[in-house]
Symmetry: C2
Subunit: 196 residues, 2 copies
């Protein structure tokens, strides 16, 4: 799926692609996933619907690629020399305002996947699975440095813990996730569970 999409998308410039993705995320914030139509995307971006379908195949793929494009680089590219450093650098990539916007979009998408099998597939293939792979690299480096025991079972659950902190912050505490909250959560939960 990723290769085909890249081949398809190579026909437009990176600038145009970024513009289209920004418009899709704006629309997503305004109306949500279910009400977002390819017609609206075409109108907002002054493209034809045929072009959108040729380049992205489906609304689900377009939306998930737009989300992925807005992400600040790969987790595994952060390499500070310690797991604690890597995780804190990961948090520091997004200021609180961007973090709140992204977590709201992520939440909206995570909700919509439950009634849209195509969206769930794209969401898992393009957002969740790459994140799992990248996270494994970060954790493997920590194992290689001797920071984490190779058999520590918490390694399989780092994304569950992080997503839990994010998602639960909103509806347990009625507060947006912030860098400060997530730093405390990492210190209290994620690092102790990993034994660092």
């Amino acid at each position: 799926m990723a290769e085909t999409a890249t081949a398809r998308r190579s026909r437009i410039t990176p600038e145009r692609e970024a513009e289209l993705y920004a418009a899709v995320l704006d629309l997503l914030r305004e109306v949500g996933y279910d009400a977002l139509t390819m017609d609206a995307v075409a109108a907002r971006t002054k493209s034809s619907k045929a072009t959108l379908y040729r380049q992205w195949g489906s609304k689900a793929e377009l939306v998930v690629r737009a989300m992925r494009h807005s992400k600040p680089g790969n987790i595994a590219d952060i390499d500070t020399g310690s797991l604690r450093g890597d995780f804190l650098a990961l948090l520091a990539r997004e200021d609180d305002c961007v973090m709140e916007q992204n977590s709201a979009l992520m939440r909206a998408l995570a909700m919509a996947v439950h009634s849209n099998p195509d969206l769930l597939k794209a969401f898992r293939e393009l957002l969740i699975e790459p994140e799992i792979v990248e996270m494994r690299k970060v954790l493997q480096r920590a194992v290689d440095r001797g920071e984490i025991r190779p058999d520590n079972p918490a390694m399989d659950y780092v994304l569950h813990m992080v997503i839990g902190g994010f998602a639960a912050r909103t509806f347990i505490d009625d507060l947006p996730p912030t860098q400060e909250f997530l730093r405390k959560y990492f210190e209290a939960v994620v690092f102790p569970a990993l034994g660092v």
Copy 2:
């Protein structure tokens, strides 16, 4: 809010109340929160809308009370003599089938709260806050027994961890939460973070 509602509800029998709540949860599963109307509840339960509003005040309160009614008792009533025992007993209360149904309902409700301020208020007051209070009692007993250090910061995040395990299981792993998964997650994440 709780006292007023109890006073209001005392006019109907517990059997009738249970019947009404079951019908509300059935409707919620069938159509979701936004499409659920007081008219539909009235029709399904052969009540008048005026009665429903008199007894529950609002759709949000009716739905949240129905969810709360379906919960298997208070967390704090479980008292096995160890925190590990309490948490494992907590998991054992619901078999996988019931757990999947409840987590789907909880997820649907947790999504709907983001666009319904009344529902968010009822959800927090009737489902989340009592759970936080009950969880604190379970943790306080563990502190009193010397199982957890009184200054362990992970105590503030037990619900975040648990909800993370539940919610993330569905869309990270594309699998329903099960007793087996949650037991592993508790052993790998929750117990180590709490230092037990």
